[in-house]
């Protein structure tokens, strides 16, 4: 079992990815209301596992995205799905996945691509009292903005074997605001000959809920 999240609006909802591997004709079934992108995830996962030094089990695999009544969209489940398959086929210790969440899209060669919503996911991981969340390297800075979150940047699928061990990638450091706070762009000094408009812009700037028409 692997934990991940799906974004509904701007909130992250927890999703568990379960995988069952048993004797039978080789097949890979995915249930739990996946949309087209999630269903295609099976082909990415198969190739990424094979290309990352693991073995894709030639058995009957059933993967379930729970809760089953929540519609799952997007490619963000790839990493968790791969992890669940690897754990179910004894290529990863299940215990290593028990207290972490994973989010990321897989490339066929096993590299991990950015997915949207990792900041909300990292916050949800904190609320769920998970040890850490693994996110694509490109998303690590934004996910690390979540207060109290341990964000582990992950670049390739192989790195899952380091999870929980001494060589686990270090947690991302939250970026600090760059003091410059530059307001590049047009300057109000260029707005000439419109004193009434300038005045209204100034009033509107003081009161953020006032609405302006011109």
């Amino acid at each position: 079992m692997a934990r991940t999240f799906t974004i509904l609006g701007v909130e992250a909802r927890p999703v568990r990815v379960e995988a069952d591997v048993r004797q039978g004709l080789p097949a890979f079934a995915l249930v739990g209301l996946p949309d087209a992108a999630v269903r295609e995830s099976r082909d990415r996962v198969r190739a990424a596992i094979a290309n990352s030094g693991f073995t894709f089990p030639q058995q009957r695999i059933t993967a379930n995205l729970a809760p089953a009544d929540l519609r799952k969209a997007g490619p963000g489940f790839d990493l968790a799905l791969a992890a669940a398959v690897l754990a179910a086929s004894n290529q990863l210790p299940a215990a290593a996945l028990a207290d972490v969440a994973l989010a990321g899209e897989l490339a066929l060669d096993g590299t991990i691509r950015a997915v949207p919503g990792t900041l909300a996911m990292a916050e949800a991981a904190v609320r769920a009292e998970l040890r850490a969340i693994l996110v694509p390297v490109a998303c690590a800075a934004e996910a690390a903005l979540a207060r109290g979150a341990t964000v582990i940047p992950i670049e390739r699928l192989q790195q899952l074997t380091l999870l929980g061990g001494p060589d686990e990638p270090g947690a991302a450091i939250p970026p600090s605001p760059n003091g410059a706070r530059n307001h590049a762009g047009p300057d109000l000094a260029d707005l000439r000959g419109q004193p009434a408009l300038r005045r209204a812009l100034e009033i509107a700037a003081v009161d953020p809920a006032a609405a302006l028409r011109r």
């Binding site: 509904l8 934004e142 300057d187 419109q194 408009l197 700037a205 003081v206 009161d207």
Partner: protein, 270 residues
């Protein structure tokens, strides 16, 4: 350009605001650094062909609309009368509440959308204006155009300005203040406002909590009656007057503040 220079006089996002805006940017796959680190307020200017779901959010699974992406920033609707009527009407309740509840059979999702609405419109479809004498628009087209500007959404717009053709000779000599100067004044006024309201903006407090002297009450009743102010319009005029007084550094709302607020409320002849 004018509406873009709007953002440069806004105070930077606070820590909490920056986190809220970053969460939304992250969820829609937009760059997070400008809001989270640069503390720049979002500025969204969707094209007028935008759908209702694109503006306020929706779809399966529900995704945030432009109103939510503009959270804590500015939503600029250029060519307001060209927008789809349903999309504009859908903005009414979110403007008041600062959030959108997307309720469908399968899910309920709440999206934050505390944005400032800025809108621009031509006086008529051809852009020359009926009063110019050069307007070629048929009267029905002008009426249809204006119909989009009146009514419930318009009632929620606090400041209206007719932008005239500037006097070109005066332009060359004018040296108006730059954004940094104005921003300082804005930040000082916001601090006064938040100190008085316990951290809230004037537009977020009940208008009854803003004290007007008896003379001003009478003035508001007279002028408001002439303007045909609704109850909501009256409350909004009071808040804008308080904001103008804050810019002035005044403890109490004065007559000149109220008159300016009423003036900005006035719907211009087209």
């Amino acid at each position: 350009m004018r509406s873009r220079s709007r953002r440069s006089i806004l105070p930077p996002l606070s820590d909490d605001e920056a986190l809220e805006a970053a969460r939304i940017a992250s969820a829609v796959g937009a760059p997070v650094e400008p809001v989270a680190l640069g503390r720049r307020r979002p500025f969204r200017a969707p094209h007028h062909t935008i759908s209702t779901a694109g503006l306020v959010g929706g779809g399966v699974p529900p995704r945030p609309g432009e109103a939510t992406i503009a959270h804590r920033g500015v939503l600029f609707l250029d060519e307001l009368p060209e927008f789809n009527r349903d999309a504009l009407e859908a903005l009414r309740q979110p403007l008041e509440a600062g959030r959108v509840l997307i309720a469908r059979a399968r899910h309920r999702v709440e999206l934050p959308c505390r944005f400032q609405l800025v809108a621009a419109a031509n006086p008529c479809p051809c852009g020359r204006g009926a009063s110019s004498g050069d307007c070629t628009c048929p009267p029905q087209a002008v009426a249809r155009y204006e119909a989009k500007l009146t009514g419930a959404l318009s009632d929620r717009l606090d400041l209206a300005i007719a932008v005239e053709q500037p006097d070109l000779t005066a332009l060359a000599d004018e040296r108006p203040e730059d954004s940094a100067t104005v921003r300082e004044r804005v930040i000082a006024a916001r601090e006064r406002q938040e100190a008085r309201n316990g951290g809230r903006a004037n537009a977020e407090v009940p208008s009854e909590s803003i004290v007007l002297g008896p003379g001003l009450q009478r003035l508001l009743a007279d002028r408001g009656g002439a303007l045909g102010l609704s109850g909501r319009g009256r409350a909004r005029v009071i808040r804008v007057a308080r904001t103008i007084a804050d810019l002035d550094g005044a403890e109490e709302v004065g007559e000149e503040h109220l008159l300016e607020a009423l003036h900005l409320r006035r719907r211009h002849e087209r």
